[in-house]
């Protein structure tokens, strides 16, 4: 708990909700009759409404990107080190919007919501939404907030994919896209990891075909395994070694299958704490959206053709030790942007911390973001 809210924090924030009553046609062919998005905003929209920044969250993120909900909160929002007064995305100048994605489990319409057609929770009946669907749902939120064009859209991992999709689907509405630790589509290995995670959840005895809410249980073991697996892939071998090595929890071997090594204890902790805050159906859905993401598919499988639609300027960032979304994947995006003659800058940040680096306060990384956003600011300042 912060005894006092730091001066460079956005401070106490309250989420807001908007109900969209117009049906939303989805990629899968189904339509949502209506939907709610929960979102947070930080800073002030200027009179010209040209200082807005959209933050897109990754697989397990939500709308609470910065600040605190209550003074007693132990932790600030998930990207608090990056968003706030004087921070790289400076809320003294930018109006920052962060919604929880459709299909999420933090307040936006998703598997936990009541399906108006049946009167019970959607559960497994919630349609699989794609990155394009998210972009459409977010575009309507922009309309509601009076934002015709975003000064920038910023996201890491799955969030970076949304930034890229936005720039292709709504070229006139995105002036800068910052695509961090992302890829233009998942590698085979990435889909494979996602499938193991899904199987862990779906084969849990408490899964009940996704209707576990009705049985008053959660597939906690499966979700925990999914998270443990994911967590290993978000870090690098080097950082795991540096943090845990082969350290034994009890200082000696116990010749059993309970926790022996500290890394086991850490992973179990990560897994169990995730179960308390995340919904298994949302996890399935988010991993599927990741698998399906492929903006080139609608442009003859040619990424260059896809990004030729874009008018935004791009910042692409990768991290040297990220093997889940490796620098090579970011370079594919850069290459397409170069072929398409778009404005793009690219930097690979030296980091031992793996995919998770995009959430961390790495000085050079934050210097890049800060400098880039200061440059954006110069475009709307009179």
């Amino acid at each position: 708990m912060p005894t006092e809210i730091p001066a460079d924090s956005v401070g106490l924030v309250s989420p807001r909700k908007h109900l969209f009553e117009e049906p939303l046609q989805l990629d899968c062919g189904a339509a949502l009759p209506g939907y709610e998005l929960v979102y947070e905003t930080y800073g002030t929209l200027n009179a010209a409404a040209d200082n807005a920044v959209l933050i897109c969250h990754a697989l397990s993120g939500d709308h609470h990107a910065a600040g605190y909900h209550k003074a007693e909160d132990a932790k600030a929002g998930w990207w608090d080190n990056c968003i706030g007064p004087g921070k790289p995305v400076d809320t003294n100048h930018f109006f920052v919007v962060c919604p929880n994605n459709l299909g999420g489990c933090a307040g936006s319409t998703g598997p936990l919501s009541i399906n108006p057609a049946t009167g019970r929770a959607y559960g497994p009946d919630f349609p699989i939404v794609t990155v394009r669907d998210w972009v459409e749902s977010q575009a309507r939120l922009a309309d509601v907030l009076g934002i015709r064009s975003w000064a920038a859209i910023l996201g890491g991992s799955l969030g970076g994919m949304q930034a890229l999709q936005w720039s292709i689907d709504h070229p006139e509405r995105v002036r800068h896209a910052a695509v961090i630790a992302a890829a233009s589509k998942l590698s085979t290995q990435n889909i494979a990891f996602n499938e193991v995670a899904r199987q862990a959840i779906r084969s849990d005895a408490n899964f009940h075909g996704g209707r576990y809410y009705e049985h008053g249980v959660v597939p906690q073991h499966g979700l925990m395994l999914a998270r443990m697996l994911g967590h290993i892939t978000y870090l690098s071998d080097d950082v795991l070694h540096a943090r845990f090595g082969r350290e034994l929890r009890d200082g000696k071997l116990n010749f059993g299958y309970d926790v022996e090594f500290q890394i086991e204890s850490y992973l179990r902790h990560q897994g169990t704490s995730f179960v308390g805050r995340f919904d298994a159906n949302t996890y399935l859905l988010m991993t599927r959206s990741l698998d399906y993401f492929d903006p080139a598919a609608r442009h003859g499988d040619n990424l260059t053709q896809a990004v030729k639609q874009a008018k935004a300027k791009f910042l692409v960032v990768s991290f040297s030790s990220d093997w889940r979304f490796s620098p090579a994947r970011s370079r594919e995006i850069v290459r397409a942007l170069l072929d398409a003659d778009r404005d793009v800058s690219y930097v690979e940040i030296e980091s031992e911390l793996g995919h998770d680096s995009f959430l961390l306060e790495i000085p050079r990384y934050h210097a890049v973001l800060r400098t880039y956003f200061e440059r954006i600011r110069a475009e709307f300042r009179p």
Binding site: R335, L338, S345, Y346, R364, R375
Partner: protein, 201 residues
């Protein structure tokens, strides 16, 4: 931003509105000036992350990359000019870099410190590797692993079937052009070349 003398000379050779790739672009000063004066568009490639931040500050498109790994992210003939200032001598394989420059660009422009300059020759005569204003590092602590003279460079151009379109030089008196007219390989501290692929008849 102010330009080094070799960069200022290059700016005079570039056609307005052209598309430029600057290899080892540093803080982006040349690209900023070319954009401001000549409405030139393009990208810089830079390996140093501190310099990349300076480029972002200047609003220059900069791509993090190692030139020794080639220009595989760039298509054939995608630039009017590919420029490399004061970097050729630090490349692992300078001749391959020149090939890559002329693959992705219509024309190439390089500048390099001339190892044939009389001060270098004089120091070599004393039996030691030269340390000069343009080559301030000791032999064991220098990025310049492939020094060459103006004559060497022209010989490489001949071997690689590269046609020299324009030459200039900066001498120790900061005079541009003078050295190229009069004993260039002895008087030029910095050599500047514009070149293209020789057309095969």
């Amino acid at each position: 931003m102010s330009l080094r003398q070799d960069q200022a000379l290059i700016a005079e050779w570039i056609a307005p509105g052209s598309r430029v790739l600057d290899l080892g672009c540093g803080d982006g000063a040349l690209l900023v000036e070319l954009r401001r004066r000549l409405n030139v568009s393009g990208y810089g490639i830079e390996i140093d992350r501190e310099n990349i931040v300076r480029c972002l500050e200047a609003g220059v498109n900069v791509i993090h990359g190692n030139l020794d790994q080639g220009l595989q992210d760039f298509d054939d003939d995608s630039f009017d000019y590919v420029i490399m200032t004061q970097t050729l001598q630090a490349m692992r394989y300078p001749h391959l870099v020149i090939r890559e420059m002329l693959r992705v660009g219509r024309e190439g422009i390089v500048t390099f410190p001339n190892f044939g300059h009389w001060k270098c020759r004089l120091q070599l005569l004393t039996g030691q590797m030269p340390v000069t204003r343009h080559l301030p590092s000791t032999w064991y602590d220098t990025a310049n692993i492939h020094m060459c003279t103006i004559r060497d460079f022209e010989a490489l151009c001949a071997t690689e079937r590269v046609e020299v379109l324009e030459r200039a030089a900066v001498d120790s008196e900061h005079r541009a052009g003078f050295a190229m007219r009069f004993l260039p390989n002895l008087l030029a501290e910095i050599a500047i070349y514009r070149f293209r692929r020789k057309t095969v008849l």
